[in-house]
Symmetry: C2
Subunit: 881 residues, 2 copies
C-alpha cells in the first residue's frame, strides 16, 4: 500500500476526484499542480489510509520510509534540504480531510528550522530578523500543537519580549530580541516535555504528522463533525509542502481569495489580504485585513495573474472557488483551493448565474444540486423588521439574518444559558474553535475583531447563524461591553443583524425575509425534476395555514389534524360535554354541535386547497387531552373544594386518565369506543365538501384513520367512514342535490411497528398509507419524546449511542427499515398504493432521500419547510439517478 503521493504524482484519474484518499486539500493541490499547472509549492500528501491505519493500529509500518523518500525527492526538486545550515528547506504540515473543517484541525508551519538551519535561513535571506521570527513562530506552534505545551505560557514570553523591546507591533521586534525569545521558548518547551526542543527535522516531521493524525480525534473536531454530520471514521490526510513566505518583506503577502463573493454570489474576485504576513494572520482575524481590490494598486501584475488563475479555476471546477495564496518576494504561489462555501443568497444567485455563464453552462439539475437545504434555510431566516431600532455599533455583515437574545461573553456562559432555555447572543473579541459549543447554541454572534473570512464569520455562515463581525465600536471588558455610549452587561438583551452589520440594544422586531429572485427559479427547476415523482404537501390544520402552505408551493395537505379544531376555546366545552355525556342523547347532542363547527373548519381548509388533495386525519389524541389535569383539580379540591362542574370534570379526568397515553386509547381505538365520533367528523367533512362543490370548487378528500395495527381495525373504520359518506350522499340526494362528485379516498397512517409489518393485509382495505414517523420512531425505539428528548438524547448523542436524534432525521437502520418493509408489502398487495409521510421527518432532507428510496409518492411537512422539502426531493431524485 502506498501511503504518500507527491502533488505531481500521475494518478490514473483526476486528482480532484480522489478526496476520499487525498483529502480535499491534497486532491486540489494535486489537481492544481498536475492538471492545471498552477504555481503551487512542491510537496506531497500522506493519505487518509495512513490516518485510519494509525487510528486502528498505531504508526503504520513503512510510512517513515515513504515519507523519507518523498522528502528526499522534494529536497532534490527544491535544491534545498531540511535542516540545512546554509540554505534550508522549510515545510508546512497541514491537515486536509475529505470535508473541510475550518480551524478544527492542526497545522504546523516553518518546519525544518533548528538551531543550525535558522542561521542558514538568515544567511540565505540576509535577514536575521525574518529567520528568527520564523523560528519563534515554529517553536511556539510546534510546542503548542505537537508537544502539548500550554499556549498561554508561550504567548506570555512573546508579549514580554515585545514589551521588553519597546516594539509597538510584532514586526518591530528587533532580531536580537527574537534570538533571545527563541531560547526562552525552547526552555519553556523543555520544561514541559522534559526533553530539549527537537532539532532533527525528521523527528520534527514525524511529530507533526502524528499531531495532525491525532487532531482528527480531538474533542473540537469530534464536536464539529457531530454537528456537521461528518462520519468519524474518515480520517484526515496530511499535506507536507515547501514553505513560501508571505512574511519575508513588504514585497510579500498572503491572502484568501474567492472567485466570486461568497456572501452575495456577485461575480468577480473577492477576498482579503495582508502585506508581509503569513496565512494564519488572515484567517485568525487578528489583524485588520485589506480588501482584495487593494492588491490591484499594491501588486498590479500579481493581481492580474491571480484573476487569470481565478478564471481558470472557475472554468475547471465549474464553480466558485476559495483559494489561499502567498506572494513571496513578488512571486505568486497558490497554497490551496477548493470549491468555496457560500451563504444561501450567494448559493442561489451563483447557481442560477452559472446556468447562463458560457464558461460553465450548468444544467438546471446541476444548479438545483448546488443549492442545499441549509442555503434555503438561510434565505428564509428572519430579518429585522420595520420601526426604530437603537443601533449602538456597526460591523461587517458576516452571516445574514436577525438574531435576538441575551448577551453572553463566554462560550460556556452562552451554552449554560441556552441550556436554561434562554435565547443567546455570543459576544466575543474574536472566536476560535474553542468557542464552538457556545456558537452552536447562539441565536447570533457578535465579534469586535476579524473579517468576513474570520473563524466567526465562516462558522456562522456555515450554520446560518446571524453574525456581525469586526465591530470596531464594541469594546469588550469582562462581562460587559460598551458601544455607542451604552454599557451592555451579561444577560442584557441585544439584537444583531447579520444582513446589514448592525448591532442593536434590546429586542428588535423580526420579520420573515423575502427570498431573492433566484429562490423561485431554483425551486421551479426543482419542481420540474420532482414532477410526477415526488410531491410535497404541507401539514396544515386551518384555512389560514393551508393558504400559507400553498404560497410556499405545497401541492396539497398531507396532514390536517382535526384535534386542533377541538382545542379551540369555543369548542373545548362542547368536547368536554361529549366526553362526559352520561346518555347517548347527550353525547349525540354534543357531537352535533361539534359537527357544525367542524364543517365550517373543513370548508375553509378545502377552499384554501381547492383542486389539491387534502388528507384529513380523524381524531387521534386520547380524550383526557381535552380535560384538565387531575393534579390541578385535586389541589383545588383539597384547598377550597370544587364546584359541581369541576367535580364532574375531575371524575371524567380520572376515568380517562392513562398511564402511558402515547400507547393508550387514541386514534382508531377511540373510534372503537366512541364510534359516533368518527361518523360525526366524516359527516362534517363530506357536507363541507359538498358545499364546496356547490360553490364551484373541486375538493379532493382523503380520509385518514390513525394508529391502526392491522387489517381488521382498518376494515371496521373503513366501514364507518363509508357509512357516513353514503349517509351524507343519501341526505343530499333527498334534498334534490345530485351526488356531490367529491373525490374521496380512505387510507390509514402507518405509525405502529405492527402496522408496518402487516402492511400487506392493511393495504387490501386502504387506498393510501401515510407514514406517521413520529409515533413510529417512538414505538420502534420505545422513546417517548416528552420524556427522553431533553433528558436522554443529549447523553445519547454525546456518547455516540445514537448518531442522530432519530426525531430529526429518520433512523434509517431501524425505523427506516420498517418504512421500507411497509412500502414493499403494501405495494405488493396493492400495486399503485399511494404512499406518503406526514411526520416531522417529511421536511428533513436526509429523511426525504430515504423516503424517495422507499418509493413514497409524497412528503408532507410544516408550511415553512415546504421549499426545503421541494428542493430536497429534487436532490433525492437526482441522487437516485
Amino acid at each position: 500500500m502506498t501511503y504518500v503521493f507527491a502533488f505531481d504524482h500521475p494518478h490514473s484519474q483526476p486528482p480532484m476526484s480522489l478526496k476520499d484518499l487525498l483529502g480535499g486539500k491534497g486532491a486540489n493541490l494535486a489537481e492544481m499542480t498536475s492538471v492545471l499547472g498552477l504555481p503551487v509549492p512542491h510537496g506531497f500528501t500522506i493519505t487518509t489510509d495512513a490516518c485510519r491505519d494509525y487510528m486502528s493500529e498505531g504508526w503504520p509500518a513503512g510510512l517513515d520510509e515513504e515519507v523519507a523518500a518523498q522528502v528526499k525527492a522534494l529536497e532534490a526538486s527544491m535544491g534545498k534540504s531540511l535542516g540545512d545550515a546554509t540554505d534550508p528547506l522549510l515545510v508546512s504540515v497541514r491537515s486536509g480531510a475529505k470535508f473541510s473543517m475550518p480551524g478544527m484541525m492542526d497545522t504546523v508551519l516553518n518546519l525544518g528550522l533548528n538551531d543550525a538551519s535558522v542561521q542558514g535561513l538568515a544567511d540565505q535571506t540576509g535577514d536575521e530578523r525574518f529567520a528568527y521570527d520564523s523560528y519563534r513562530r515554529f517553536v511556539s506552534m510546534y510546542g503548542r500543537i505537537v508537544l502539548g505545551v500550554p499556549g498561554e505560557e508561550l504567548e506570555e514570553r512573546f508579549e514580554a519580549a515585545r514589551a521588553g523591546s519597546g516594539a509597538t507591533s510584532d514586526a518591530d521586534i528587533p532580531a536580537a530580541a527574537l534570538v533571545e525569545l527563541v531560547e526562552e521558548l525552547k526552555e519553556v518547551v523543555a520544561k514541559h516535555t522534559g526533553q530539549p526542543f527537537p532539532q532533527d527535522p525528521a523527528d520534527q516531521l514525524r511529530g507533526a504528522i502524528e499531531a495532525v493524525f491525532q487532531s482528527w480525534g480531538g474533542a473540537r473536531a469530534v464536536a464539529y463533525r457531530a454537528h456537521e454530520r461528518i462520519p468519524h471514521d474518515l480520517g484526515t490526510a496530511v499535506n507536507v509542502q515547501a514553505m513560501v513566505f508571505g512574511n519575508r518583506d513588504d514585497n510579500s503577502g498572503t491572502g484568501v481569495g474567492f472567485t466570486r463573493d461568497p456572501a452575495t454570489g456577485e461575480a468577480g474576485a473577492y477576498g482579503d489580504f495582508l502585506v508581509n504576513a503569513q496565512g494564519e494572520d488572515v484567517v485568525a482575524g487578528i489583524r485588520k485585513t485589506l480588501h482584495l481590490d487593494e492588491m490591484r494598486r499594491l501588486f498590479p501584475s500579481i493581481y492580474d495573474e491571480l484573476l487569470g488563475i481565478f478564471d481558470r479555476l472557475e472554468r475547471h471546477y465549474r464553480d466558485m472557488c476559495d483559494t489561499e495564496f502567498t506572494i513571496d518576494q513578488g512571486k505568486l504561489w497558490m497554497l490551496q483551493t477548493r470549491v468555496g462555501k457560500r451563504g444561501g443568497v450567494a448559493a442561489l444567485r451563483m447557481a442560477v448565474d452559472m446556468t447562463t455563464d458560457e464558461r460553465m453552462t450548468l444544467t438546471h439539475a446541476e444548479a438545483v444540486q448546488r443549492v442545499t437545504a441549509e442555503h434555503l434555510e438561510q434565505v428564509l431566516h428572519p430579518q429585522v423588521g420595520g420601526g426604530d431600532v437603537a443601533v449602538i455599533a456597526t460591523g461587517l455583515a458576516a452571516s445574514p439574518g436577525a438574531g435576538v437574545g441575551r448577551a453572553y461573553f463566554t462560550a460556556d456562559g452562552a451554552a449554560e444559558a441556552a441550556g436554561r432555555g434562554e435565547a443567546v447572543i455570543l459576544v466575543r473579541t474574536e472566536t476560535s474553535p474553542e468557542d464552538v459549543h457556545g456558537m452552536i447554541v447562539a441565536k447570533g454572534i457578535l465579534t469586535s475583531r476579524g473579517g468576513l473570512v474570520s473563524h466567526a464569520a465562516v462558522v456562522a455562515r456555515g450554520w446560518g447563524t446571524p453574525a456581525v463581525v469586526g465591530a470596531d465600536g464594541v469594546h469588550i471588558s469582562g462581562n460587559t461591553f460598551t458601544a455607542g455610549g451604552v454599557t451592555v452587561t451579561e444577560g442584557d438583551v441585544i439584537s444583531v443583524d447579520g444582513s446589514t452589520g448592525r448591532v442593536m440594544l434590546g429586542a428588535v422586531e423580526v420579520t420573515v425575509s423575502e427570498p431573492p429572485p433566484e429562490f423561485a427559479t431554483i425551486l421551479e427547476w426543482a419542481d420540474e425534476i420532482r414532477a410526477g415523482k415526488m410531491a410535497v404537501r404541507a401539514n396544515a390544520d386551518t384555512g389560514a395555514d393551508a393558504a400559507n402552505a400553498r404560497r410556499f408551493g405545497a401541492e396539497g395537505i398531507g396532514l390536517c389534524r382535526t384535534e386542533h379544531m377541538f382545542l379551540a376555546e369555543d369548542r373545548l366545552p362542547i368536547v368536554r360535554r361529549m366526553i362526559m355525556a352520561e346518555t347517548d342523547e347527550a353525547e349525540a347532542a354534543a357531537l352535533e354541535e361539534l359537527r357544525v363547527a367542524q364543517k365550517a373548519d373543513f370548508y375553509e381548509v378545502l377552499e384554501a386547497m381547492d383542486g389539491l388533495p387534502v388528507t384529513i386525519r380523524l381524531l387521534d389524541p386520547p380524550l383526557h387531552e381535552f380535560l384538565p389535569r387531575t393534579e390541578e383539580l385535586l389541589i383545588k379540591g383539597a384547598k377550597v373544594g370544587l364546584t359541581p362542574d369541576e367535580g364532574h370534570l375531575l371524575k371524567a379526568a380520572e376515568a380517562w386518565h392513562e398511564f402511558n397515553p402515547m400507547l393508550g386509547v387514541r386514534g382508531v381505538r377511540l373510534g372503537v369506543i366512541k364510534p359516533g365520533l368518527y361518523a360525526m367528523q366524516v359527516r362534517a367533512l363530506m357536507e363541507a365538501a359538498a358545499d364546496r362543490v356547490a360553490a364551484g370548487g373541486t375538493p379532493i378528500v382523503e380520509i385518514m384513520i390513525p394508529l391502526t395495527v392491522g387489517r381488521e381495525e382498518m376494515a371496521l373504520a373503513r366501514g364507518w367512514v363509508e357509512g357516513a359518506v353514503a349517509g351524507v350522499a343519501a341526505r343530499a340526494a333527498e334534498s334534490g342535490v345530485a351526488a356531490s362528485g367529491v373525490d374521496v379516498t380512505i387510507g390509514t397512517m402507518i405509525e405502529t411497528p405492527r402496522a408496518a409489518l402487516r402492511a400487506g393485509d392493511i393495504a387490501e382495505v386502504a387506498d393510501f398509507f401515510s407514514f406517521g414517523t413520529n409515533d413510529l420512531t417512538q414505538m420502534t425505539f420505545g422513546f417517548s419524546r416528552d420524556d427522553v428528548e431533553s433528558r436522554l438524547m443529549p447523553a445519547y448523542l454525546g456518547q455516540g449511542l445514537l448518531k442522530r436524534n432519530p426525531f430529526e432525521t429518520i433512523d434509517a437502520a431501524g425505523v427506516g427499515e420498517l418504512v421500507k418493509i411497509a412500502a414493499l408489502r403494501g405495494r405488493e398487495a396493492k400495486p399503485g398504493l399511494k404512499l406518503g409521510v406526514c411526520g416531522e421527518h417529511g421536511g428533513d432532507p436526509e429523511s426525504i432521500a430515504l423516503f424517495h428510496d422507499a418509493g413514497l409518492d409524497y412528503v408532507s411537512c410544516s408550511p415553512f419547510r415546504v421549499p426545503i422539502a421541494r428542493l430536497s426531493a429534487a436532490h433525492a431524485i437526482l441522487a437516485g439517478g
Copy 2:
C-alpha cells in the same frame, strides 16, 4: 365439486382423517360404517365446503340435486320413503363441525313427519301415541330451530296439553291429546311464520340443513369458538341420518357411553342411559339418568354387544371414545362416536395406562401428546383444604377443583358481578348454551339437576372450572336457594368442591392440589423429548421463588427482576436516598448500602439454583416507581402542608415524573444516566457468586441488560459490566482469593422493535438474547397494558379486531415476526447465540410453539407454569418433527 357423501362412501383415505371435510361427527360415522362395520343407521354427510360456500355465496348450486340423489339412495337402502303415508322414513339432521361444540349448534329430529306420514308411522308401528309424540316433538323442534318460533309459546301448549290430560309425566299424555297438541303447535307456527307448517319433506330437509348452516354463525356458537379458539371460517358439516327410536317402548332406550371414565381415567365402560327416551333427554339433563351398569341388568345381551363395540373402538382409535347409542326395540344402534373429552386427572392416567395396554401400546411421545396444557392446569387446580366446612348439599363431582365466590343465579348477573371484579359461583337449575357467558367468568358452577354428561358438566370440565351438578338437595327459587336448612341469597359467599361434589356455605380454605402420580411420569417423558432442544426456566426474584421453581422442574432462572429487591420495605428508603442524592458522595453511600442488601439477595437466589443458569436483569423500571405518587403529596400539601422530607420527595417525584414511563428513562437508559447503579448491582452479584464458589457452590451467572435499542448501548453497558466484574475479581485477588471461576455471560433483552431489527449488530456484543415479549408487544402494537387491556381489549376481541389477547398468546403475525427476525439476524451474526424468552408468553403453549419454531433455546415463565411449559415445549418439538 361433490358436496354430499354417504356414510359408506369409499373414500380414498380413512374417513376419520377427513374431519376438515366431513366434520368430526360425519368422519366418525363414516369410519364406523365403512371401516368398522358397526351398526350405524344409514345416512349421508353434507360437507363443510357446502357450509362455507353457503356463508360466502348463499345456497350452493347443485346442492339440492345432490341431496335429492342421496335421499333417494337412503330411501332405497332403508326400503322406506320420506313422507310416505304407509311406512315413512324419518331422519335426523345434525350439525357436525371439525371440532366438537357441545350444544352450540342445532339439531332437528324426526324430520319427514307430516300429516300423512304420521299416520303411516302410527300404522307401521301400531302405536299412534308414539307417532304423534314424535310428530309433536318434530313440530316443536322444527318450529323453534328452523322457523324461529319462540320456544316458550310451543312449550306452553305442551304444558297445557299435559295438564289438560291430567298426565303426571310426558309419557302419560294420551294419543288423542297429542293429536290435538300437534294441531295447536302447527297453528302457533303458522301464526308466527304466516305460512302453514311445511308438509313436503324435501322442503323440511332443505330448511333444516340451512338452519344448521346458519347456526354456525349464531351468537352462541361465535362466543364459544372465541373462547375455545376455534377459527370462525371452518364451517360445519350436516349429517342426515335415518332415525331409530329410543323412545318407541320400554324395550328401547338411549344413552351416552364412554369406553373409560372421563373424569378419573379408570378403565372400563362408563356412561348414562335412559329407557324409552330420545338422546336429547340424556344430554339435556332434564331426566335423572341411570348408570350404564344398570344396562347389564336391563339389557344384558345389548350391554355385552356395546362393551364389545367399546373394545373395538379403543383398539381402532387407540384412545378413549365417547359414544351415543340407541336401542330401538331391542336392537343396538351406534349414533355417533368420537375420541372423548376428559379431565386432567383422567388424561394423565389414560395416557400412561395406554402405553402398557397391549391393545394400544402408545409410545411415550404419543402419551405426552395426549395430555394438554389444560389437563395439567386442571390437576394443578386448587382443592378444598383442611378444617371444618359447612356442607349444605352434595351433588355429582363434575369438574375437579375448589371454587369460592358469591352466588349468582343468572348468567347475566354472574357476568356483571365478575365485571365488577367479584369472584362468582353460578347457580342454575341446569345450564344451557345461553348461559355460557356466565359460565366463562365463574369460579365454580352448581346445578341442581343433570348428570355428568350434562351441559354444565361437559363445559365445566372442558374449561377446568370446578363444578358440582345434579345437587338434588339444592332448591332454587328466584334469587335464593335453600339447602340443608340454609337459605343462600344472591351475593352470599359459597364454595363448591368439584372433586367431591360438596357444596359449602361461606369461603372454604383452598390449597393447591397434589397432582396424581402420572403427572410426574408424563412430565418426565416430556423432559426426555425436550432434552437438549428446549429448556424451561422460571422467572423468580427471591431464593424462595427459585427453590419453588426448581421443585416444579425449572432448569434455571430466565429472569430475576432486581427491582423487586429494591421495593422491599427496608430497601425503599435507601433507594429513595440514592435517587434524591444531591452529591456524588451521598449517591455512592446509598448505592453501597444497596449493594450489601442485594448481595445477600443474590446469594440466596444463586444458592437455590446452584449449578443452573441464573439470569439477573439489571434495574429496569423508571426511578419514579420508587417514589410516592405526586398526586398524594400534592393533596396533602394543599391540605395540611408537607414535612421537609415529604417536600424533598415531592420535588424528586416531580423531577422524575414521566408522561409515558413505559417509553421513558428505564432499563439501560437509567444506566446511562446513573452508571454507578449498574456497577453496584454487578458488584453485589459477583461478590455473591464468589461467596457461593467459596462455599463449594457452582454459580452460573448471566447478566442481562434491559431495553437496549442498538449495538452502541449494549457495547457501553457491556463495558460497565465487564469493568465491575473485573473490579470484583481484582479485589478478590488482592485479598489472596484465587480468581473465582464464576461462569459469567452478558446478554440483553430484546424488547424494543428496534432491538429486534438491529439484532445482528447487537449480537456482536451480546452472549445471549432474552426476548421480553411483554414490552415488545406493547411497543409493536402501541398498546400500554395498563391502559388498553381492560378498556379496549374486550371490545377488540369481541369485535374480532384481534383474534387473541396478544398479551396472553404471542401475536404471531406481528410480534412473532419480530422475534423471528431477531433470532435469525442474531444467529447470522453469531452462530450459537443463546436465545430465550422471559415474557409471560413463556408459559403459553401456543406461544411456546412459535418460540420453538423461531429456534429459541429456552422459555422462562412463572414457577407455577413450569410444568405446563415443560409439556408444551415437548409438544412443540413433536409437532415440529
